[in-house]
Symmetry: C2
Subunit: 332 residues, 2 copies
DNA sequence: CTGAAAGCGCTTACAG
DNA sequence: CTGAAAGCGCTTACAG
């Protein structure tokens, strides 16, 4: 099996020292044009590729970043992951991906392993109540970007969607379209600090001039099945219910299925609003009204924040809040 | 910022040589139980984590693998990626993810960068006609697993779904349910060698006792939009068409939408069969009949193949072919 | 059972 | 403009 080509091999072939090859390869300057030509020629000819392990050992820059998320099963996530990967590559970094199943212990394992691999930073969709774990790594010197949660620490930045505003928009939209009896199906996986969709829903109800008050906020698994079960419960307990705000689009789709299977028409009898605007949402029948989260923008903000943390460790970072948008389709 | 803890720090604290700490950490044997205890204690106390860059430089095992795919936008892919990541972690490896947009040049870039990072192997969903690129890396010593294509080289293994058989099953199912005039919407992104769905479709038509012959095989982009456009064309040219086999579920969903928008009922007027069984397929109306590809099994086979290639470079590998299954729902 | 020496492939800090 | 020396954090090959 052919041994890998090293800096030495290039140096020997050209007849210069490895140091000179290193200078040319990294474009440090301090070499003649003639030398540059000869070195680059040899690099090309031998197919030399710098060994990032060796380079990283010295420079303390491995050229890698880690993306840590609950998993790919949430249809919201893959496009974000792809966007981050693309942006990272444009900045010359290669991306690790590791899933946590939203389990704090697994997240701890994953971070340990990424730290071992000397990643230059991580982007984390945090598992339940793992802010301390994350600020711990940040304090040890690892640049950390947290999505959809808040924390303060050196080497740490936060990027969030304005989900509270989004939830309020969704709720006002239901009220504006003459829905009287609203319920919400929230997520059983959100700790109190991250229940901003619930806060937005309740706030919009309070602030509405309609004098309406929510029937119930239910917490279910944020899946199609969770949405189905939630909707059945709500219809059972509150037959008068005519509007639902769902934690995400999967839940909303489940809610619509359950409503239909119980003989309720959507939107005529019950209106449903989701959150995320996953691809599926425009394809189901009726097409889902939802809060659109700009995933490419999230990818860009998050990568930028990490980049800043890596390149300018000292500079203070303020939390980024990404505005969201109501997309009205057929389910309301 | 606290410097990273090294083997030396542990050694100093315990009062042994770094070599001894290394032995304990890697569980090589050749140390007393007392030493082991003391070392592990210090490791724990100092929070020592081995630096994989340094280790990899010597052992020529970086403990990383690369997953290279077209992208996350195809809903078939994310679950596979997640499965591979999980299996890789179980084997103690961390996974890079890099997308190619199915572009050979980008795939070349991606492989170059993974090679630079000294990955122990790669799993590739190859871009168009890049078999030579891949066998090239395999010959240079990089373990490569190719999905859904065939090639021969040292350090190379292939894992495929039996899509030809799947297509044939789908087609026979259409014929068995008394469809007479069949068309197929294939993918414009598949090079001839990878058109096994088309081959299966045509073979089943030929072999059927019904004496039927296909109206047309159209090649479109494998997306919902591609499916819509394809269906419109087929209905336009062959108004009698009553059965469609689609390249994948997205195309099938697009085809159903176009059919409905032209006033054709699914399945009464036109039956549609997809391929992949993505999550969405059971949620659309009518629920889609499709060829199910066992994604967890693919993840397992592919990771196993790569593992074998890494651990036993010499041993011959025969291509793995994964059987597929017809799932009958409402669209036929 | 334990350790001193050498070196993986690079870059840093220096000297010329 | 160029190079010799040292060293990043670890393991390999050896000696005791």
């Amino acid at each position: 099996m052919p041994r890998e080509v090293t800096l030495r091999d290039v140096a020997t072939q050209v007849g210069v020292s490895p140091r000179t090859v290193s200078r040319v390869v990294n474009d440090e300057g301090g070499f003649s044009e003639a030398t540059r030509q000869k070195v680059l020629e040899a690099v090309e000819q031998l197919g030399y590729q710098p060994n990032m392990l060796a380079r990283g050992l010295i420079t303390r820059r491995s050229g890698t970043v880690g993306l840590v998320g609950g998993g790919m099963t949430d249809p919201f996530f893959p496009a974000v992951a792809e966007g981050i990967q693309r942006k990272a590559r444009e900045a010359g970094r290669t991306m690790f991906f590791a899933s946590t199943d939203s389990d704090p212990a697994r997240q701890a394992d994953v971070l340990k392993s990424l730290w071992s691999h000397a990643v230059d930073g991580v982007i984390v969709f945090p598992a339940l109540d793992t802010i301390d774990q994350l600020t711990g790594y940040a304090r040890r010197g690892l640049p950390v970007v947290i999505v959809d949660d808040q924390a303060e620490a050196p080497n740490l930045a936060c990027v969030s969607f304005d989900l509270e505003a989004g939830a309020a928009m969704a709720t006002r939209h239901l009220l504006d379209t003459r829905r009287q009896s609203l319920g919400m199906i929230a997520s059983s996986l959100s700790p109190p600090r991250r229940r901003n969709r619930e806060r937005g829903f309740l706030r919009a109800m309070r602030e509405s001039g309609h004098g309406a008050s929510p029937l119930e906020v239910l917490r279910m698994l944020p899946t199609v099945e969770g949405g189905e079960a939630g909707m059945r419960q709500l219809l059972d307990r509150h037959p008068e219910i005519d509007g639902i705000f769902a934690y995400n689009d999967l839940v909303a789709i489940g809610a619509m299925r359950a409503a239909k299977s119980q003989g309720r028409r959507v939107p005529d009898d019950v209106a449903v609003v989701g959150c995320d605007d996953i691809d599926m949402s425009s394809l189901v029948t009726p097409a889902l009204t939802t809060i659109r989260l700009d995933r490419p923008l999230l990818s860009a903000e998050v990568t930028q924040a990490l980049h800043d943390l890596i390149e300018a460790p000292g500079s203070p970072r303020r939390p980024v809040m990404i505005p969201v948008e109501l997309v009205i389709r057929e389910s309301t």
